[in-house]
Symmetry: C2
C-alpha cells in the first residue's frame, strides 16, 4: 500500500494511526502542502485526488480518498485489529465521534480555508487565530460532552481499545496544542489522548516521526 501523506496533515495522520494499529506496512509518499506552491495542487497529485487534499491510498490498483472512507476500507479488508465495535449502536457512536472531528471541526481550519481567510478576507493574524480556536473549542467541547455522558467511554473513546474515534481525536489534539488551545476544559479528551500517546502505533504516526518531518 502507498499512502500519500504530509507529516502535519491531520487527515493523513488519522490514516497513519489506523495502518499502524492494524500492523499494515505501507510506503509513505510525501506531498508537500507548502513547497512549490503546494504539491497537492499540481497536476500529478490531482490525477490521484481531484480534490487536491490529503491523504490518498493506493491499494491493489484501487485509488482511495477521504481519511474516514480509507479507514473503513482498511477495516473491511483487514478486520484485525478492529477499529469499530461489533454492535451497530456502538459503531454509530464511534463514527459520530470521528465525524465530530472530521466533518464539524477540522475542515473549518485546514490550509485552504486559512488561505481564504488571509488572502481573500484579509484577516490579520489575531482574527485568524480566533477563528481557528473558536471552531476547535466548539468541536472539542462537543466531543467531550459525548464522552462525559456515555458509560461506553473507557480508557479510550469507546471502551478500552482504540477505535476510529481515537484515530481522529489524537490529530485534533495535536492541532489544538499547536494553536495553544487549553485542554483543561476537556478532561476526558486529555486523559484519552495521553493513553493513546503511550501506544507505539500512535507514537509512530506522530508528525515528528514522519520521514518528511521538518
Amino acid at each position: 500500500m502507498k499512502l500519500y501523506t504530509y507529516f502535519r496533515s491531520s487527515a493523513a495522520y488519522r490514516v497513519r494511526i489506523a495502518l499502524n494499529l492494524k500492523g499494515l506496512p505501507y510506503e509513505a509518499v510525501p506531498v508537500h502542502l507548502l513547497r512549490n506552491g503546494g504539491e497537492q495542487l499540481g497536476e500529478a497529485y490531482r490525477d490521484i485526488n481531484p480534490g487536491a487534499l490529503l491523504p490518498a491510498l493506493e491499494d491493489e490498483g484501487a485509488l482511495l480518498t477521504q481519511s474516514l472512507a480509507i479507514v473503513e476500507y482498511l477495516e473491511e479488508t483487514h478486520p484485525q485489529t478492529a477499529l469499530l465495535p461489533a454492535d451497530a449502536a456502538g459503531r454509530a457512536r464511534v463514527r459520530a465521534l470521528a465525524m465530530t472531528i472530521a466533518c464539524d471541526t477540522h475542515p473549518l481550519s485546514n490550509l485552504r480555508v486559512l488561505r481564504y481567510l488571509v488572502h481573500t478576507l484579509k484577516l490579520d493574524e489575531a482574527a485568524k487565530l480566533d477563528w481557528i480556536r473558536h471552531w476547535m473549542r466548539l468541536g472539542l467541547a462537543t466531543f467531550e460532552a459525548h464522552l462525559a455522558r456515555d458509560g461506553a467511554t473507557g480508557r479510550f473513546c469507546h471502551g478500552d481499545t482504540p477505535t476510529l474515534a481515537d484515530c481522529c481525536l489524537v490529530p485534533q489534539v495535536f492541532n489544538a496544542e499547536r494553536f495553544e488551545v487549553d485542554l483543561a476544559p476537556y478532561p476526558n479528551i486529555a486523559r484519552i489522548a495521553a493513553n493513546c500517546a503511550a501506544l507505539p502505533a500512535f507514537h509512530a504516526a506522530h508528525p515528528s516521526q514522519q520521514p518528511d518531518a521538518e
Copy 2:
C-alpha cells in the same frame, strides 16, 4: 424511529432520503434553526445532541448523531434497500463521494459558520455569498471530477441504483440552486440529480414536502 429534523437542513435531508429509500417509517420532530434564537441551541435539544446540530435519530433507546453515521447504522440494521455496494473498493468510493460533500463542502457554509462570518467578521452580503459559492463550486467540481473519471458512475453516482453518495449529493444540489450556483460545469451531477428527483423517495424527502416547510 424519531428523526430530529429541519426542512432545510442539508444533513437531515440526507437521512430523510435514506430512510425513504429503505422504506422505514419515522416520526419527524421539527427543530427550528431560526425560531426562538435557534431551537437547536436550547437545553432540550442539547440533551439529545450536545453538538447542537441536526439531525439526530432515536431508535430503540439509542440516540444517534451525525448524518453519515446514522445512514451507516440504518445500513447495518436494515440492509435492504442497500445504500452501499457490496465490494470494499466500491464502498470506499461511495463513502469518499459522500464525504466530499459532508466533510469538505457543506460544513463550510452551514448556519453557524455564516453567522460567524456576518456577526464576528462583519462580512457584507456579497462577501458572504462569495464564500458560500466558492466552497460549493470547489466541492461540486471535485465531486464531478470523481464521477467523470470513473466507469463505476452510472444512472446514479455509483452504478444504477442510489447510494449514500446520492443521499449527500441531492441536498447539496438543492443548496447550490438556492444560492444560484450554476450547475452547467457539472454535467454528471446535473444528470444524476435529475434521475434522483424522479424517484418518490427523494421527492418525499425534499424540503418543500416536510411538515415544517415554510
